[in-house]
Symmetry: D2
Subunit: 390 residues, 4 copies
């Protein structure tokens, strides 16, 4: 079944969606795609299940195939540029919502053969541990993307011991746990994940570029809502003028429209939009195309109203913008590097006597502030031209 899914246009489209959106503007090697990640995650699921079987936990062939397909499809609903445009193309829906819609569509095309995969994905199957492998604080999704993103970005310090962690997995009380011998490797996984957030996922230049992209999309939507017809593929034009609801996205026709969108549609449109008569749209598009990214300042505390106001006024004056327009050029918002979640699907360490402990208690590393609280940083983003003025 995996083979049929991989050949399906819903899946082949992932070849055209970069795993890390605009990150290649900072780390040029990070051109890898969701296609690679989905295949990799499926492969790790296979390895994880083999380890569990070897330790005496029964997983039959149907369950294995379903778990593999769940991994193959877990990110199928991503928009072009992945997270960067997640709430821009379909503003009301997360990529998980769209993934679910696509899985249901595929299930109907496959005459229900995906039902078990969906049950595992949605955690309605009684072998709960399979869902834990698909989605939890230590799932094969994270194992694959951390290793892959570290490899392609070249940030070698994000490397983790995937093989070792998988070998240490076990099942107790229907839950995935880690043998105590693997505790240090899991600690290292948590630490590497946090490092990857600061060095890659929340890299300030990447955030600045993403702000620009989102603003472009917002402006394009606004112009479209005013009746402008912007250059672009039919599907792109459709999504510029329709904010689909959860019910609407589930319609076959809309899903297939969505499924034709890839990074290239956005890239191509932005180049053409840079010639558009709307000053705001063309300016934003020119900046992204030429990699003239906004200046971004990062701070542990909120930027004061005065500071933001000052940047806004300067931008208005310098770029000749009105109040509505300047909002596309100056933004302030937050970045959050998540702590380890102490409740819910915690990571459990299995000691030799069969006892289970939350890794948070078992480890003397996770008492660090970094894992106790989410770390929130604030940013202020504005055109670089403002600096040259001073």
């Amino acid at each position: 079944m995996a083979h049929e899914l991989i050949s399906h246009p819903f899946f082949q489209r992932l070849r055209g969606i970069k795993q890390l959106g605009l990150t290649s503007l900072v780390y040029p090697g990070a051109c890898h795609t969701r296609f690679q990640h989905a295949l990799g995650a499926m492969h790790l699921m296979n390895q994880a299940v083999e380890v569990l079987r070897h330790k005496g936990h029964e997983v039959n062939e149907f369950e294995l195939e379903a778990a593999e397909c769940a991994m193959l499809l877990h990110d199928i609903g991503h928009s072009p540029f992945s997270h960067a445009l997640e709430f821009s193309i379909v503003p009301q829906l997360s990529h998980e919502d769209i993934s679910a819609a696509m899985m249901y569509q595929l299930n109907s095309e496959l005459n229900g053969r995906l039902s078990l995969a969906i049950a595992i994905f949605e955690d309605s199957y009684h072998k709960k541990f399979l869902h834990k492998l698909v989605s939890s604080q230590l799932d094969v999704d994270r194992l694959d993307y951390l290793r892959r993103d570290s490899f392609f970005s070249g940030v070698a310090e994000g490397a983790i011991g995937v093989e070792r962690i998988i070998k240490m997995l076990d099942v107790v009380d229907n839950d995935v746990v880690v043998e105590s011998k693997g505790m240090h490797s899991v600690e290292k996984f948590l630490i590497a994940r946090r490092l990857m957030y600061w060095q890659v996922y929340l890299h300030k230049t990447v955030i600045a570029a993403e702000q620009l992209l989102v603003n472009i999309f917002n402006r394009a939507k606004q112009l479209s809502s005013q009746g402008e017809t912007l250059f672009g593929a039919e599907a792109l034009q459709f999504f510029l003028t329709h904010d689909l609801t959860r019910e609407e996205i589930r319609k076959e026709e809309n899903l297939y429209k969505f499924s034709t969108l890839a990074d290239s549609d956005v890239d191509g449109a932005i180049k053409m939009w840079s010639l558009h008569p709307d000053k705001v749209l063309s300016k934003l598009c020119k900046k992204l195309t030429a990699r003239h990214l906004p200046k971004i300042e990062i701070s542990d505390s909120k930027f004061s109203g005065e500071r933001v106001q000052e940047a806004t006024l300067k931008a208005k004056k310098l770029l000749g913008l009105n109040d509505e327009e300047v909002a596309y050029f100056v933004q302030t918002d937050t970045l959050v590097n998540k702590a380890y979640s102490l409740t819910g699907d915690t990571i459990k360490i299995l000691d030799k006597t069969g006892g289970l402990q939350n890794i948070y208690t078992a480890s003397d590393m996770l008492s660090a502030a970094a894992f106790l609280h989410d770390t929130t940083k604030h940013f202020l983003c504005y055109p670089k031209e403002l600096l040259q003025q001073e």
Copy 2:
């Protein structure tokens, strides 16, 4: 100056051009771009010059900068999908021709500061060895792309000892030579290059996909020449309807048009063209989008007229095509894996007494048939549907 060049739109466009065209259809990791390769080649040039300086050969700062810029720009004129569309978008010109045109344009924008780089690139500078580093049978271009393509495709056997080869370089009589201690590393470089040709650059599935892409372009051009306006960015539409000459491409306006083209324009257009009423165009586009690639047969000898005729007739009948149309679906042509060139810019080995020898004579590996003659293979390419008929 390198910094100015990198920021220029001519160079930034390389971010959107995959180094290996459609190869990622076979090796999903091969999403790396010409942008990465150009930076890498510049870096190796810097290392090579440092080695030569260390061995007493004078290269001043201007010459080093010029040599670096020559590497940065050596591939600047590549079309979208690199070699795959090399003679489709601008049929009369090679990427080297367009690179030259772009360098001249940049030189005029930089008030002549690129003149030395161009002289080195065109081999009109008296320090001939600098040109040899830019372009020869053992240039830093090849050193970079072999290592890079091997890394991103995952074909680890193509790996070469770049650092070691560079350390062994020297200059004798204004020519780049290799110390005899480095001979085995150069042998291995030649062997790895040949292996990369068979495993990657001439991989049969990649060739099949490229055939499809070229046919799409040919059809689109034909329709355009008949007055059809196909979906696409303005620049794409321009090149569909104009076959520029060497003189025309040198016009600033045309170069800037060309410089807006990237893989995404072609990707986006092909998706839209798959809905076009022209049966041939839409069929070809659908096949590429869905990765339904042609069947390709490889043979050491030429395919007989009968064999080609048979495939042609079948395709006509099965797909309902006329004589003109079927030519877009059935092709036969050759693949050539180049031998080591015995004349011209041979690779010279420097022995301890100061004597020079063509590596071809010095090595007992290069007497292999593989290096003596170009290896030519023939392929026949036709729709996979023909097989299911039998």
Copy 3:
């Protein structure tokens, strides 16, 4: 001068001393030697000084050479099996004491040319930052051994970003500091170091083997002190019967004796001693040779007197040992994984405004218990035969 030092018998002997003592019994790849580490540390010193020079800190050629030689020699005084026999062969002296003695000897042979290296090593030179590179919580010694030990043991998770850390070094107020961009890499270095302690340096099976080795040595010394002449090279016999003081080791004759000792002398002797009539010595030696290592239990709390007594009694009975003899077979002691030291040579982070902060405060990772307090574990070690009895 480095070349002269490397050729000296004091240095060549390091070829015969494994970096990690008996660790190859657990990680078979860990056969690397002190020779490799010393060369690697010298190389990193060179790189670090180049970075500092590049940032405007003057280090002249003599200082660079001296700093390199300090690294080359920093471990020159290690005993066979490195730390494992550190206080067995010369019980009263640490390897640093012996290193110092050897450096003084070499300095006299080199007519004082090592004086600057010694001054840097002993922190009496006014450019204090050079000493910091030689010895501190973030010195090139640690950078080299962590990477090297991780590589050869195959514990890939101990890998650290050596190049990046070195690039981030700077000097402020005569002290080595780290640019704030490098903070996460240093965090990761501290974390990797701790992980290497648990997975490699304090691996329980390695500790068990080292206990055995130390007991063999103790017994051999005791027998020697009773007038027995044990098999072995002259130098080994000398150290079995002489506990040198700091003054004595500084005598040229004794240093040269010491410098002939390598792992092979101990290996060879132990094989012969396994045939010795003394029951204790032969039994211990047979166990090590056959890799029949003691059982070792690890606990967070101290083993009770009863528990130790019980093991002791069992061992006496089972192996037919008297009170004095049993002490060679049953031991309890502690393992300590050091915290980050909050005082003294702390690691300082340099922010963009030039401010300095202890990494302990700057980082939200080091608040973990693991870095606050030394982690002490207790072990109890006894013959495996005792288990089969139960």
Copy 4:
């Protein structure tokens, strides 16, 4: 059974025998041991058999275990320093002879349970393809040692695609063959092997060191035969005075004596022998210990009688040696880098139609002179002091 064998003293001794003898004098990382190689080769055998099973060839559990044990033991009879002392410690017997003797001994200790492994090893089992995996021009022995020696020596260019080659293996007519898709990988394996011979196995400085070691042993044997008792472990002394025959080595007592010998015994003895009154022995030993290796000249043609005579006379005069003694200091001999053997166990390529071809014919690389004929080089080795005289 593998576990029992690994625990046996015959196998544990391999921990003390370096895979590449004295090579670490040139490549300091090459400290890896026969122990690692034997485990690695067993592991690859397991992988190879899994691949063959997957392709439908039956290998039952007993056969798999036997094939694994054959790999585990294939090098069990190596002397200290592996090939370097192969015909010095037991002059009449190759390491294969001694391996066979040890296997028979182990088989008798295991009550015949090793019989199948021995049958496979000796090629008397009807499933001939299992022997081919153990020993042929493309066996798992070579796959392991090439990769391992390349890794630890740091000669990265010797790296080969072990996983890919193993995946391409198949069985036809009871013989191991390679699918045609794997041909380039096998070519690369043959090329890498040849490169490793020149860069590592036949490295001139390694050869010079080995000459020294062999001469030391020859002198020690001569002195022993004259009634001298040299320092050393009992087993070493035994082999210095006994040249065992094939029958004698098979005696349990002699095998156990041999099995106590490791590199350390030789290392330790040589250090003590450097103090011996015999001028020849002490001089040779001092040279090796201090890494004062002989000068070695390499030539494509034989050294003339005059040239050798000249070196001999100089050495006699300079070092005060008589005719008999000088033979320990001046030698001439040959180095052979083997071609691909065209007959016997050739490597067969399986094309898609089921046809088989000798890779020599199938490949256009192996027509190189390097694979057609053995390459023979000549060396002349003499004390470095002779050079300073001139």
